[in-house]
Symmetry: C2
Amino acid sequence: MRKQPQSDADMQKLADLIDEVGIAMLTTEEPDGSLRSRPLATLEMDAEGKLWFFTAMSSGKVGEIDRHRKVNLSYAHVDEQNYVSISGHARLFRDQEKMNALWTPWIEPWFPNGANDPDLGLLEVTVEQAEYWDAPASRMQRLFGLAKALSTGQTDRLGEHGTVDRRQ
Amino acid sequence: MRKQPQSDADMQKLADLIDEVGIAMLTTEEPDGSLRSRPLATLEMDAEGKLWFFTAMSSGKVGEIDRHRKVNLSYAHVDEQNYVSISGHARLFRDQEKMNALWTPWIEPWFPNGANDPDLGLLEVTVEQAEYWDAPASRMQRLFGLAKALSTGQTDRLGEHGTVDRRQ
């Protein structure tokens, strides 16, 4: 994942946390109101804090996002006990210049037809609110840090639970 | 996590997949329409395929679920490249007998006041639809398996993407 320099320390912390996981679970609301998620590789967090992904324009999630632009991105690393929740809104579009700029060799197995594939599209997520459950190195502290976040959603003495709010 | 025997092979597969991860990211819709997720330890998949969690009745997610009972549970293990999405509906309630039955010593760090804590509650999720992105053992096959699921949402030759639909 590419990380551009962020405008403040909170967003930099967020960039570092999601870079450690890389793969997001993107949750969208379906037409019948049910919530669905699927894995997506994160390509970039740009200088404005927006997150960028490639998508196939023919995939099911395009219709879901067109209808309901609010999305959630979760980044979970169970072995490290790092968890991030990002609430934001998504935009799907094609921009050949941006797709060329984001293209990297490691994404090729996902999209073997390359950056010029007519089905390739961009998914841009604007972060409105982000929360994380982070914990220090030792096993018990992590467990307890996670525990407090799970049960109360509050900051605790050993772990860390923070919120980044970008809503105006 | 406790796994009760499941009614069919698909649900058994689902039980095995989520047992490998253990911690779910539970996504709910907030009153303003935004989607929010947080980590939760999975306690049991019962014989009817329902998933059970403890929660603090005073936590923020209680209000969110009261308003919008549709939820998503995602289970992600990035190192193993296993990803599960469960669409379902949630119910929050107190039942002392069930809480006693679910209580295990390993959950105590999360809920230090024990099974009789008046703030302890149950979160029950009924599975309506489940999808998984699973992949065989070797590194490149996993990458490619994940790749195809990411770009097309379809089954591919090397990985495996399956759906369990429990809606009537």
